[in-house]
């Protein structure tokens, strides 16, 4: 595969493991065992069983008739919002908890932005009876309150990250610091295709079930197993990586990423990394990130906590740099518009993150017979507080 990670953990020039020595033994232990463990029959069986009977996979591939009419093309929604816990995040946490269990780890830590990854981690920890600590930026604790309550309900401890912009980047810093301080018994379940190798590759593999299903479902529904376009939002990039995975080398399929432009890419309130970012290192990975010319990481902004991150995964940096994928910056306002539009047109309330991908339908001129698969990464229950603030405008 042209876009697969190489032996040293790089996608082209991006990736690697730029970590302090204190993390080396942990990351090395995982690097040495992740492929072997996930290839064992017992792992595969438990992973598949849980995805089927616990998560509710396969998720539907739904031909959205009214949406298709509105945009004059053929739109299929991959319904990751229908997963247990409400987003694609659980595909990955199921995989990683089985990994942690097989490596003999007793204590689980995670970072979260929107809280979806935190909830998905708290869920699998409850399932496996493991201690769970979730780091979450103080700002996100505020704006994603329902998910904080869910994590607590599931028995997890939510620890606020108080440094920097108090959002996803800072929660990730805190989780890394926890891991340095607890190297023996602790497994760090990262929530996206970010961080040091092997995380981006491991998470992409667990999420690849999304495109595996898309292939089968398209074959059944339209008699061919590939679309013309796949649309997905990108925070760190895990739902996009999963939706793209089995099509990465299939250039008949165009890959479109929606990034959070916040107030707009020409303001200083944005999180559109592939437009505004330059090459550097964030959370142990060489990738594109938003930074000053002096190399200080810029605090991002997005209405959507799950996209409020100043970097993207190294695979996505490589896809952008090589021209394989194209990025669309989508503003806060556009994503709220799209959320109301989909709710009223199809009866599906999307997560604000996923609504960014929907906006690509407005921005790109798809042809009438184009097959467009849109990865609806999550549902909008967690965002109702935000939507309520805009309700008057959409009466």
């Amino acid at each position: 595969m042209q876009y697969a990670v190489d032996e040293k953990g790089f996608y082209g020039e991006f990736g690697g493991a730029f970590i302090p020595e204190m993390l080396y033994p942990n990351v090395e232990e995982l690097r040495k065992s992740y492929l072997e463990i996930s290839a064992t029959p017992s792992f595969k069986k438990e992973f598949d069983d849980l995805l089927k009977h616990y998560v509710g996979r396969p998720t539907p591939l739904y031909f959205a008739k009214k949406l298709s009419e509105k945009y004059g093309t053929q739109v299929y929604l991959k319904r990751e919002d229908l997963n247990h816990t409400g987003a694609h995040k659980v595909n990955n946490t199921i995989g990683q908890i089985l990994m942690a269990e097989r490596m003999g780890k007793k204590r689980i830590i995670a970072e979260t932005g929107a809280g979806q990854h935190g909830v998905a981690t708290a869920t699998v920890c409850a399932l496996k009876g493991l201690e769970c600590i979730v780091y979450m930026g103080a700002v996100d604790i505020e704006r994603q309150a329902p998910n904080v309550a869910r994590m607590k309900m599931l028995g997890a401890e939510v620890r606020p990250a108080l440094s920097g912009s108090k959002t996803l980047k800072d929660a990730t810093n805190e989780a890394i610091r926890d891991w340095i301080s607890n190297p023996e018994d602790t497994f760090y379940i990262i929530g996206s295709v970010v961080g040091p190798h092997p995380y981006p590759d491991m998470v992409a593999r667990f999420q690849s079930v999304i495109s595996e299903e898309i292939k089968k479902q398209l074959q059944e529904q339209i008699g061919r197993d590939y679309p013309d376009y796949i649309l997905a939002c990108v925070g760190g990039g895990s739902n996009a990586a999963g939706a793209f995975y089995h099509y990465l080398d299939d250039t008949r399929v165009q890959l479109f990423m929606a990034e959070a432009a916040g107030h707009g890419i020409d303001t200083n309130m944005s999180a559109a990394t592939s437009v505004l970012g330059t090459e550097g290192i964030i959370h142990g990975s060489r990738t594109l990130l938003m930074q000053t010319k002096d190399g200080q990481i810029i605090e991002p902004h997005s209405i959507s906590a799950g996209l409020d991150y100043p970097g993207i995964g190294p695979l996505h940096a490589h896809l952008i740099k090589s021209g394989r994928a194209r990025s669309f910056p989508i503003t806060d306002k556009e994503s709220v518009d799209a959320s109301f539009m989909l709710s009223r047109l199809e009866g599906i309330i999307p997560a604000l993150e996923s609504a960014h991908a929907l906006t690509i339908l407005e921005k790109y001129d798809f042809k009438a017979d184009d097959i467009v698969v849109l990865n609806l990464s999550g549902r909008g229950d967690k965002d109702l507080g935000t939507f309520m603030k805009y309700m008057d405008e959409y009466e």
């Binding site: 493991a17 942990n26 964030i282």
Partner: protein
């Protein structure tokens, strides 16, 4: 290699090194801090370039870094401050900072600026040994700049030997499984680890850092190494009300009374 470090580790004196955050508490405190440290008998200084996302650092250094960045600290300014300090200060300076800032500055240009301003060696905690050995070693050697690599209680014997081989002028021994931060005691587990490393009879002198905060912990670390490095406890001392030089003098005296 570097002249300033040549004799420092030879005569068996237990060395005290202090970590400072450049541009903290105030932007222009870097130079007076360096002058005061030498005057009070500190053997060498780790000059920390503040970074927005210091993943190996605890709250104290995070907060001092955040403040220093707000104060306006940046790399060119740091180099000019160091040049200024070099007019009167002769103890070795070790630059400590994260890799991203070096990348953005450009490695060659960065090394040149270190040499021009009077930096003697470096600590880059997130630069892995493999990457250094394969990609960067030649550049650092061209400029005669040593690098100290870190070892931790979790490091395996092979890793420790590798770090020992690559490090100059000293090996940085992280005292426990922890990020930076002052702790008031050293545990028996840590003492065993200090002993274990000492018994490996490594080539490089060892400096113990992270969690060294007062006379007691400094002395304990010194029993098994060439010396120790104090960071967060020093940052706390200069964060107090009162005259900077006075605070520095009192703190150093409390370690070396």
């Amino acid at each position: 290699m570097n002249k300033k470090f040549e004799n420092l580790f030879e005569d068996g004196k237990k060395l005290l090194s202090i970590y400072i955050t450049a541009g903290y508490p105030s932007l222009n405190d870097t130079v007076p801090t360096l002058i005061a440290l030498e005057k009070n008998g500190v053997d060498f200084v780790e000059i920390g370039m503040p970074y927005s996302d210091p993943m190996a650092d605890g709250t104290t250094i995070q907060q001092s870094s955040e403040k220093a960045i707000k104060n306006g600290m940046h790399l060119d300014l740091l180099f000019s401050q160091i040049k200024e300090a070099r007019k009167s200060v002769s103890i070795p300076f070790v630059y400590m900072g994260y890799l991203n800032q070096l990348m953005q500055y450009g490695l060659d240009k960065f090394c040149q600026a270190c040499v021009d301003s009077g930096i003697d060696s470096l600590i880059i905690p997130d630069l892995p040994m493999e990457v250094y050995a394969e990609e960067h070693k030649a550049i650092f050697e061209k400029y005669n700049l040593g690098l100290s690599f870190l070892i931790s209680p979790q490091s395996g014997e092979k890793r420790i030997k590798q770090a020992d081989d690559l490090s100059y002028p000293f090996l940085y021994q992280v005292s426990s499984n922890a990020i930076t931060g002052a702790s008031s005691k050293i545990s028996d587990v840590q003492l065993d680890y200090f002993k274990r490393i000492e018994e490996m009879k490594l080539k490089s002198p060892k400096m113990i850092g992270f969690g060294i905060s007062n006379k007691e912990t400094f002395d304990q670390a010194c029993e098994r190494a060439s010396g120790a490095i104090i960071g967060s406890a020093f940052i706390k001392a200069v964060s107090q009300e009162g005259d900077l030089e006075n605070n520095i003098g009192q703190f150093i005296k409390s370690i070396r009374e």
